[in-house]
Amino acid sequence: MLPHRFQYHRPHNLDQVFELIDRYGDDAALYAGGTELLLALKARVLRYEHLVDLKRVPGLKGVRESDGQVVIGALSSHFSLATDPIVKRLVPAYAALSDNIANIRVRVSGTIGGNLCFAEPHADPPAMLAALGASLTLRGRNGERSVAMADFIEGEFTTVREPAEVLTEVRIPVPAVSARFAYCSFGHLERPAVGIAAGYCPERGMPRYRIWAGAIAGQPIRLQSVENALAGVPIENLGDVLADAASSAAQQLPAHDNLQGSADYKRHLAAVLTRRAVEQAAGLPPRKEAA
């Protein structure tokens, strides 16, 4: 399939990006890695007259550590994050997640910022970034604002980003030394049907968790009832509460039937994956089992 014809723009700084957005408005799309946008253009479910390529705008790629945060340029590819020494050292669970997105070609072309802004629900990063407490920097012509990952995606293919804003950075607070994160997902296609991110984040020696469900709904959903049920429970006693808490939370999730599976199947997956992600985050060994 071939896309409709479009004009292509290669701005070299953000001011030029903002000028192009002003000039072309809704006829223009910001273009990053293209792994989602080009598919949609080829399938002709989207049509734009103008593509504004962000890949050659300096300063939007790369990772740095600053003020207790890992600051990731939005145009960084999944592959670059999977192999980045800072990400591997400070947020190893995010490096591992990046290394398992789709396939190597998608990881090489696809970017973290494009993934978040396209907001295709069957994506891995959002739930984990929400669990990590990440925030996103949106730059407009007149300044920038910070939005929590938890508030960024409003639903399928919908975010709070204004058309005249560019996502420039993803900021992840460096987790405490005692914290540990894990991500468990399953899908029979390359995209996750369900993905669960869990963080074990003890406070004053007491076990606390952050647990988010991704892909099952239009935006990541915090599994607060599971977090509450597990708070303070010694790790060796997790088995007494985890399975029931995970199952009852999964039953409440707003799943629907689609290509990735039926709603019931995805709720089942959510319960199993929640248990596994929590156990992994808590440092328990994986057990042999049938899903």
Binding site: M1, L2, P3, H4, R5, F6, Q7, Y8, R10, D27, G34, T35, L38, L39, L41, K42, E49, H50, L51, D53, K55, F79, T83, D99, A102, N103, I104, R105, V106, V108, S109, E190
Partner: protein, 155 residues
């Protein structure tokens, strides 16, 4: 809308500098196959899943079916036609021949290029790393064991 402006791209293709005029919406695979005559790059799934259209850009694999030709501008592109040197198969190709790592051969250009990229970034991959890197290259003849043996022989 404004008239579509054609673009003049300059990039390194299989070790040679090339220039080609394209439309912004032209896909890399079509420019390679139809404009530059390099038919070794195969179109199959057309949605970045199968790996038959794999080419390397700056040493890393991309799906040329879902990459704009414009993105190759100024970059270094390797297709299967650029792997053999001076009429001699390179080591990856020889390993695929020696281990019979192909049946119909349609996935082979992508497999060889993905393997080349793997060895670029990780010269000594273990079996799990090989399987992980090549996971996105599909052989519909299902001849994976021989392909795996070929790649393992290079480590």
């Amino acid at each position: 809308m404004d008239a579509i402006e054609r673009m003049r791209l300059s990039f390194t293709l299989n070790g040679r500098a090339v220039e080609v005029d394209v439309e912004p919406s032209d896909l890399l695979i079509d420019v390679l196959r139809d404009r530059l005559g390099l038919k070794g790059t195969k179109r199959s799934c057309d949605v970045e899943v199968c790996g038959a259209c794999t080419v390397l850009v700056n040493g890393l694999p991309v799906s040329s079916c879902t990459t704009l030709a414009a993105d190759a501008d100024g970059q270094t592109v390797l297709t299967i036609e650029g792997v053999a040197q001076g009429g001699h198969l390179d080591r990856v190709q020889r390993a695929f021949v020696e281990h019979a790592g192909m049946q119909c051969g349609f996935c082979t250009p992508g497999m060889v290029l993905a393997t080349t990229a793997l060895l670029n970034v990780n010269p000594k991959p273990d079996e799990a790393e090989i399987r992980h890197f090549l996971r996105g290259n599909i052989c519909r003849c299902t001849g994976y064991i021989k392909i795996l043996e070929a790649v393992k022989s290079l480590v």
